[in-house]
Symmetry: D4
Subunit: 213 residues, 8 copies
């Protein structure tokens, strides 16, 4: 097959292999999973897994599948390799699919994750009433579309790394996530960095790295 | 002269003529002021007035000039034609020139104005400790560059019209105000509208309209 | 459930709760409506409500539904809490869905609304022959796509706040509403502000705020 | 010399050679003028001619120079080769330099030109009171920055070709003329076409072509 | 009905009414056609008419319909009100639908039209072998996507007005017509102006205006 | 004074106050420094400090000033509060000013910093020969303009968090840092996040946060 | 028919005719193929050929069709007219369709092609272990989406021309290939040039030209 | 010193080291030149060398300096290592500085170069009268700003690789070279590829690579 499966990555990078399912056929994924299983028995993560491909893989592997975030996990096993906590917050309910991609990624990588959804800046009391939770996190993932102010506001309220994930949620001048992306990049709060629009996986992975230090 | 001075606007629009000074020579402005003085004796507003032109006009008229906001006012007279209050808030200190353009415009149009500067969302306590002030305003002007989240946050905290003024303050991905502009246009809080980048005058004028209803 | 229903918003913001239906399942909306009904019996507004979800909700609630604007209202009741009038104008017939979102929002919030549709600037006589109507408004909502000049022209003809709503109507260099958005932001007329592309709801809400002052 | 002087263009295109002065040294222009004079004695047009280069050329040729529009004309001679009239209109006073580039170009090509400056759409009466002038034109050049609505409004009021010239006048979201450019391209009025931002020359040349048919 | 049919436009603009069919229901169009027929018996033009709506209208009116360009004409009658010729040229075969919108518009307005398709600049001999045709035109419409160089090259070869129509044909960095649009706006040849991307109608209408002078 | 100095931030965020010098007068900065010194005696960081303002402050305070990065530090004192190492790498020599902003920020916050400059991806051997250094870092800051591939390549070679800082270095299609910004946001390597263009400070601050966990 | 088939191109350009299938009907293509077969018996290349059109043409001609790259070849015949080798490399597996368009184009034009797929810069060892292959190529085609760094890295490792093909693969800030396009244009390695997003054909054609010198 | 001088590049890439002078101090460049001279005695190329730095280096080395293109060459020596010819063509005279950067680069690398300046597509006869020259080239560099059609037209006329160099020449909608860049990327002629805006060096280097095959 074409895809060069990377057996050494766990060694070099200290984390299990991840399959980016977006443009792979179900047969390609089946092949990659089989190849990976030869050296890694648990928690193989597949992102952007379509419902249809998930059905196919379910018949062949022990697959956990989350419809909302399109996350699949082969041979999912609970394990915690870090003590700290990662908080995943969203501005609205429409941001939850991306947030779940981040949360499930972080969990599969051995982290305790707390979800804090629909706490956008247009209703600050929702965020302020959770200050205690926020202040205990080792890393916070702020998932928001539209004006994307959540990352800045959380960054100002806490002193741990905040990873902003702009989402493509919204319409008109949200321009598929550009508005939120620019907001987050321009954050006036220190400690905020940004990953690609809708890249919940990247944020979960990075938060896990930070939480494992 | 080329410029068609509009003697009927005060009648039609209920407000004195305003001169946009940005691309006019000092002699052109002198001519327009003289023409306007024939029917309107006080509070002629000049925006974007350069220091050099201000010096020239000062020798010919009774000119108030604010270096920071580049606002000039011929025959400035204090007067209050509306009871309510307009709050002008900024995210940072660099937004103050634009804020002053808004505040001085609103004052010259007969409004009480309260300034609330440097209350950006990266330090929420600064805003929250001024909730009483905010809640009494008839209109609030939120002036902010960078991530421009101020308009959303204020919009969520209050129930009066909020006019967002994105500023060109910042660097990199602030793209001369585009980031703040998009943020404000995407505000999740109801009651927020937006004027052009750096358009303090437009915001002050609109706030005055609302405060006079 | 995930969505944090905000029972205090009516108190803080003086307006009934609004549900943004765009990315919610019909079951989620049913839950939110039930929760809201516990403290607010009438005029629950749902924007961006799909025809399919509207059918589902109709079987469970007394739902008014406008196919064109995708507006739903649970327990709709006529009531007028402000004396003044809001005019909603459009440039063309394709802008009417967005205009209706604005008009129905303003009505549900207790305002008298006059519709003035298809009065775009390429045929000025249509606008000029309605000058009397325009001059009596407390707030005007100008809904236009393509070159978006309607907001400027109305702004120049009247002395009340004009809220521009750019629409995504058009093709080619209209770029999904960007052309109209930029036009409106650059308006040379005073008193014009802008909301997001296609955001009829935001314009109706703001106009209501202004009309209630 | 590098520049390939095009002695045949007058024959092929029926118009005298024009020198685009923007990136040429004064010595290069001197050489080109001398070359052109060998076969064309009058009305050599130079656009974007800097004040400094104009001074240099004035000492060597009979040069008309307009400081505002940066137009230079060697051996200027009044002549009219077409009967009709071209109207050049501007939205504001800041658009006049570009308008003069158009007007002087059209005049040098043998056209009667009427200037109608500062008639922007935020004060419609200024345009409407000139309807008679507009209705007699063979071609109208609409020069405007900011929201650029002038082209559409004039296009709707008249039945001759309207050439829109967006200008880079403005600030913020005018984006150096993009806003006006998009407005004009999206004009809902028939008969409107557009040339490059600030391209007064191109508009004057095209209007002359149309007026000579 | 909502649409304000404009019975005076023919008088003011000297051309029959045109219906922009893009966002109108077939019933709306039926109503407008009936209204127009009361004062104008022939050659009612409908642009962007869907196949489905065309079928509906065909049962009620004598409708000519061109599938490719989506042009419909009610009571089509050949008539020539101008002597000159309009040439419509395209760069490739994919540009033909837009070109036909232009050509049919010009014909319905009483012009002789010559089509010159697939003569793009990557094969110059195709254009050069048609120089005689080009040189006799009163106006030339250059329809091209991708690099859009056709307008410039034709502009350089002829001395009549050239109207560039960028098309959304292409992929990748053609960005839905932006590449061709910018090329045409930057044309180094004099006499070239531009209409909106894919706006064959606008180009045909303008060419007719010029041809009727 | 206008600026609201935030005496509580050190407590809340565990880091000394930082002054963003870009748009402050030297007198404003003097005032803020004096205010800060009342509760924090050492290592007051000033970013974007102009040479001229630095000269002024040097006469009043014990100021370290780095011409290249425009970083100033009042009462600089070496101290190490974290054991790990932060690597700051650049693609070229032109990226060094931004890199020094990051490195000096990280040092003032108590971190050991290793500089690895001019190791861009067009000469991979320069990076590969430093693998040992890279593999020992707790956080890596990758500073690069132009194609910005450095962050991805380093991210693929290591298993610690990589913070990408796009720089505005370059010309043409680098578009002031947009090219590098997009590259870094699209990184295929896990663990990479991005801060604003030229935001060395933000990267240094975040790296320090991570290194102190 | 409309399309002007260009029988002289092979003579002028030394290569067989190519049909761009994207916007042609199957009947149009049939006609063009028949016309071409009259003077060129083998290896007629059709790009962007839909599966449906391929089925139609298969019944009429001896057609090779590659589903993945949408390449069709009528009367395919193996032949090698150049000695050197062209390498086609991709960053990921999703880039393979575009790479195959390039590879099959180069093969049909008489070149030896080596495929090196899924060797993106986030796993450098995959590239480095193929250095020998790379160093023997006469031209290398680097096909990559997302951050598009592959072209730069290969350009730095080799001394032959590298042709970058940005792909529209990715999501969010990859913006349909813009990110990769800008990366490649800004390459710091010498010898790199770029073709349009997803233009595998153009890259294969150019590589063949270079390999035949 | 910071810059890592790369003594092995000549070996790996078969070409002398080149110094990108844009952001280096004259002292930095002096150091790099001295380092390079230790292993390479002739033809050290410096691009983007400021007049001031050139003066400094002239006193220390045997420096050829071309004011127009800002190219410097230490120990320039004529030598020809390839038989073929490279043609460098420009659309206008303003493109010459970039063209000279390309031409001088190609010459220093051992190529015969023919210059064909000011042959833009708005006057095709200038190009057509040089067909013989064009048809003999091994590689052609097409340098053009504004509409950038030169690359396509030349690509259609010849059968050798054409390297497009968009220039930032122009105003308005040329957007600093974007218009020309997009034109060239969308070229309908086969064999055209593109380098960065104003990147004459890159084009000259690539042309030399091709000419040496
Ligand atoms: N949703 C995602 N977004 C961005 N990168 C991802 C995503 N999911 C997986 N990846 C990355 O893609 C790599 C796998 O790509 P592949 O080999 O194409 O399956 C993983 O190692 C991750 O670094
Ligand atoms: N069409 C709309 N566009 C923008 N904002 C809206 C729209 N409809 C509702 N909203 C806002 O969304 C809020 C409700 O969001 P949610 O809690 O997600 O249903 C309301 O309070 C409004 O401020
Ligand atoms: N394809 C088109 N593109 C742009 N404008 C058009 C088009 N077709 C018609 N129009 C214009 O739209 C007007 C009719 O619009 P409407 O009243 O909405 O049908 C006509 O008078 C034309 O000026
Ligand atoms: N996928 C492609 N992308 C860009 N250009 C192509 C492609 N396929 C073919 N072409 C070009 O299109 C020409 C044929 O266009 P046509 O005459 O419309 O079929 C060929 O000579 C190629 O130069
Ligand atoms: Mg913080
Ligand atoms: Mg509010
Ligand atoms: Mg008004
Ligand atoms: Mg008209
Ligand atoms: Mg011409
Ligand atoms: Mg890594
Ligand atoms: Mg190389
Ligand atoms: Mg060719």
């Amino acid at each position: 097959g074409y895809a060069k499966v990377d057996h050494h990555r766990e060694v070099r990078q200290g984390a299990p292999e991840v399959i980016y399912g977006a443009s792979k056929t179900k047969e390609q994924m089946e092949g990659i999973i089989n190849s990976l299983l030869s050296h890694c028995k648990e928690n193989i993560l597949i992102t952007r897994l379509s419902t249809e491909s998930a059905a196919y893989l379910s018949e062949r592997f022990d697959l956990f599948y989350d419809e909302l975030s399109k996350i699949g996990i082969v041979n999912r096993t609970e394990h915690y390799s870090a003590d700290g906590t990662i908080v995943v917050a969203t501005g609205g309910t429409s941001d939850i699919p991306v947030a779940e991609e981040a949360a499930l990624t972080a969990e599969v990588l051995g982290n305790h994750v707390i979800r804090l959804y629909d706490v956008g800046v247009a209703g600050l009391h929702r965020l302020l009433s959770n200050m205690e939770l926020l202040s205990k996190a080792n890393a916070i993932i702020a998932v928001a579309g539209m004006e994307g102010a959540l990352a800045s506001v959380i960054g100002g309220l806490t002193d741990c790394p905040v990873i902003g994930v702009p989402t493509s949620v919204g319409y008109g001048a949200s321009f598929g996530g550009i508005s939120a992306l620019l907001s987050m990049l321009n954050s006036c709060a220190s400690g905020v960095s940004v990953v690609n629009i809708d890249n919940g996986f990247g944020a979960g992975y990075l938060a896990s790295m930070i939480n494992h230090q």
